[in-house]
C-alpha cells in the first residue's frame, strides 16, 4: 500500500483499511482491486470522473454496498462476510450497526427525514441508538445546529429549507453521533452554485479540528485546500494518489492529466 504523505503514517492506527476490494454488479466490474487506508485525522479526497467508482467505494466503506471480494477493516475491526455473489452480506449485523454508529455519512441528496423537524432529525439517532435522554439529545442538537448556523431553524421541516441548509443539517445529524470518521458522498453536487460555499466552509472547519474525513468530491480547489491525500480513481482502479501538491501540481498518470484538463477550475468558495 503506497502512502505518499509521511505525516499520515505517524498519526497511528488506521481508521479505515481496504485491501484488494472488488465490486461488481453482474458483469459490470465497478471496483477492481482497491487498496486504501485512512489514519486518524486524515482527510482523504476521492476524485475521478463519474462512473470511476468513487461513490461506490465510499459506500463500501460503511457497507451500504457489499464488496464482492476483498478485505475491510473499520476502526480496527475486520468485517466478516458470508455468501457469494449478489447474496454476499456482512456476517455480523450487530457489529456492523455498532461500527456504523461510529462512522458518519453525508449524502449527495441530504436525505433528511421530511416528517421530522430539523432538531428531531438530529436527535433521532442519539436517542434510538445511543439511548440518550431527550433532554440531553436536544441540548446536543442545539449546540450542533448553533455550530452549523441553523439554530434559528431548529423547528423547521427539511422541505422548507434550502439545499445548503439541508446539507448543513445533515452534517449536524452525522456529527450528533460523535463519529470517529466522516464519509462525504459528493456533498455539494446537488447544490446550486451559490450554496456550495456554506457547506464547504462547515467541512473546512471540521477538517481543521482534526476530523478523519473521506470525501468524494468534484470540488478540486477544495480538495487541494483541505485534503492530506488525494486519491484519483479511474475505471475502478486507483490511478494515482499522493499529497495534493503532487497530484494536482505534478500528475504523472496520463489519465489523471486528462481528467484534470477536463474539469474546469472549481467554483467552490
Amino acid at each position: 500500500m503506497s502512502n505518499a504523505s509521511t505525516t499520515t503514517a505517524s498519526r497511528g492506527d488506521a481508521v479505515i483499511e481496504v485491501e484488494n476490494l472488488h465490486k461488481a454488479y453482474g458483469d459490470a466490474r465497478v471496483l477492481k482491486g482497491i487498496d486504501l487506508s485512512a489514519g486518524r485525522e486524515d482527510v482523504v479526497a476521492l476524485i475521478g470522473s463519474s462512473g470511476s467508482g468513487k461513490s461506490t467505494l465510499l459506500r463500501c466503506l460503511n457497507l451500504l454496498e457489499t464488496p464482492t471480494s476483498g478485505s475491510l477493516r473499520l476502526l480496527g475491526e475486520a468485517i466478516p462476510f458470508r455468501g457469494q455473489g449478489a447474496r454476499r452480506e456482512t456476517a455480523d449485523r450487530r457489529q456492523l450497526r455498532r461500527l456504523r454508529a461510529r462512522l458518519g455519512m453525508v449524502f449527495q441528496g441530504f436525505n433528511l427525514w421530511p416528517h421530522m423537524t430539523l432538531e428531531a432529525n438530529i436527535m433521532e439517532a442519539p436517542i434510538q441508538v445511543l439511548k440518550r435522554s431527550r433532554a440531553e439529545a436536544r441540548d446536543e442538537a442545539g449546540a450542533l445546529l448553533e455550530r452549523v448556523g441553523l439554530y434559528h431553524l431548529r423547528k423547521a421541516y427539511p422541505t422548507t429549507l434550502s439545499g445548503g441548509q439541508q446539507q448543513r443539517g445533515a452534517i449536524a445529524r452525522a456529527l450528533a453521533m460523535g463519529p470517529e470518521a466522516l464519509l462525504f458522498d459528493e456533498p455539494t453536487s446537488a447544490l446550486d452554485p451559490e450554496l456550495v460555499g456554506e457547506v464547504l466552509s462547515v467541512m473546512r472547519d471540521l477538517a481543521k479540528e482534526g476530523r478523519t474525513m473521506i470525501i468524494v468530491t468534484h470540488e478540486m480547489a477544495f480538495a487541494a485546500d483541505v485534503a492530506d491525500r488525494v486519491v484519483f480513481l479511474d475505471q475502478g482502479e486507483i490511478a494515482e494518489q499522493g499529497a495534493p501538491e503532487q497530484v494536482f501540481g505534478a500528475p504523472t498518470a496520463q489519465r489523471l492529466q486528462r481528467f484534470l484538463g477536463s474539469v474546469s477550475p472549481s467554483q467552490g468558495e
Binding site: 460503511n62 451500504l64 450497526r97 455498532r98 461500527l99 456504523r100 454508529a101 461510529r102 462512522l103 458518519g104 455519512m105 449524502f107 441528496g109 436525505n111 433528511l112 427525514w113 421530511p114 416528517h115 433521532e124 439517532a125 434510538q128 441508538v129 421541516y157 427539511p158 422541505t159 422548507t160 445533515a170 445529524r173 452525522a174 453521533m177 464519509l183
Partner: protein, 259 residues
C-alpha cells in the same frame, strides 16, 4: 376563504339543498322515526363498530403484507401477493358467505369446538362479518402499503442505516410513518369504500344500518323516506371521514410537500 365559500354557484347549491330538505320535511311521512329510533341507533352503532374495528385490524395486517412484498424473503412476498390478489379478485359478498355459510357450518362438526369458549361467538353473525371485512381491507391496503413502502426514497432509509439504527427502529420511526404519510389520500378513499361495503353483512343477518332500514321498509311499506334517510346517514359518515383525513393531511403531509 370567506368569499370563496359564498361564491354564486355555492349559494345556488345551498339554496337547492334547503329547498329539497324543506320539501322532504313537508311532503313526506316521518312519523315512523320515533318508533324506529332505537333500532336505527343500534344499526348505526354496528356499522360504526364494524367500520372502525375492521379498518384498524385490516390496516395492521396490511403493514406486514405490504412490507414483505418490498423486502422479501421471496416465499413470503409471493404468499402476501397471492393473498392480496385472491381478496381483490373475488367479490366481498362471496367471501362473507364462504366464511359464514361455509366455515360457519363446519364448526359444529369439529370436535371440541362446541365446548370451547369460542362457541358462543361462532354462532353469532358479527364475528364472520368482522373477519371477512378485516381480510378484505387487509387485501386492498396490503397492496396500497406495498406502494407506500416502495415509494419512500431509498436515501432516507440509507441515512438511517448509516447511523447504525436497527432495522425495526428504522421501520417504526422512518419507513412506516413516511409510507403512511404517502398513502393518506388513498386511505381516505379506501375507508369510504369500506364504509359502503359494510351493508353486505346484512345478508348474513347482522343488523347494521342497512338491515334496519330494510326492516323499516318491509314493515311500513314506505319506499323513499327510509332510503333517503339512509342515504343521508352514509353521506354524513363519508363526509366525516373525508373531513378527518383532510385535517390529518394538512397537519401531517404538508411538511413534506416538497417530495
Amino acid at each position: 376563504m370567506a368569499e370563496r365559500r359564498l361564491s354564486p354557484h355555492r349559494l345556488g347549491l345551498i339554496a337547492a339543498a334547503v329547498l329539497v330538505v324543506t320539501m322532504m320535511a313537508l311532503q313526506m311521512r316521518w312519523d315512523w322515526l320515533l318508533d324506529y329510533r332505537d333500532a336505527i341507533l343500534g344499526g348505526l352503532w354496528l356499522t360504526l363498530v364494524l367500520l372502525v374495528t375492521t379498518s384498524v385490524a385490516g390496516f395492521l395486517l396490511a403493514i406486514p403484507l405490504g412490507l414483505v412484498q418490498v423486502t422479501g424473503p421471496r416465499p413470503l412476498a409471493w404468499l402476501a401477493r397471492g393473498f392480496c390478489t385472491l381478496i381483490r379478485g373475488t367479490p366481498l359478498l362471496l367471501q362473507i358467505w364462504l366464511l359464514y355459510y361455509g366455515l360457519g357450518s363446519l364448526f359444529p362438526y369439529l370436535p371440541g369446538v362446541r365446548g370451547s369458549w369460542l362457541w358462543p361467538y361462532l354462532i353469532e353473525a358479527w364475528p364472520y362479518a368482522f373477519v371477512a371485512l378485516t381480510l378484505s381491507f387487509a387485501g386492498y391496503e396490503g397492496e396500497v402499503m406495498r406502494g407506500g413502502f416502495a415509494g419512500v426514497p431509498k436515501g432516507e432509509l440509507e441515512a438511517a442505516r448509516s447511523l447504525g439504527m436497527h432495522p425495526l427502529t428504522i421501520l417504526r420511526r422512518i419507513w412506516l410513518p413516511r409510507a403512511v404519510q404517502r398513502v393518506l389520500p388513498t386511505l381516505n378513499g379506501e375507508l369510504i369504500i369500506q364504509l359502503k361495503a359494510t351493508p353486505l353483512v346484512a345478508t348474513i343477518a347482522a343488523v347494521d344500518t342497512y338491515a334496519v332500514f330494510g326492516r323499516i321498509r318491509q314493515e311500513t311499506y314506505m319506499v323513499y323516506e327510509p332510503l333517503l334517510l339512509m342515504a343521508l346517514i352514509y353521506l354524513i359518515l363519508a363526509g366525516l371521514i373525508t373531513l378527518a383525513f383532510g385535517t390529518l393531511e394538512r397537519t401531517w403531509s404538508r411538511r413534506s410537500a416538497g417530495d
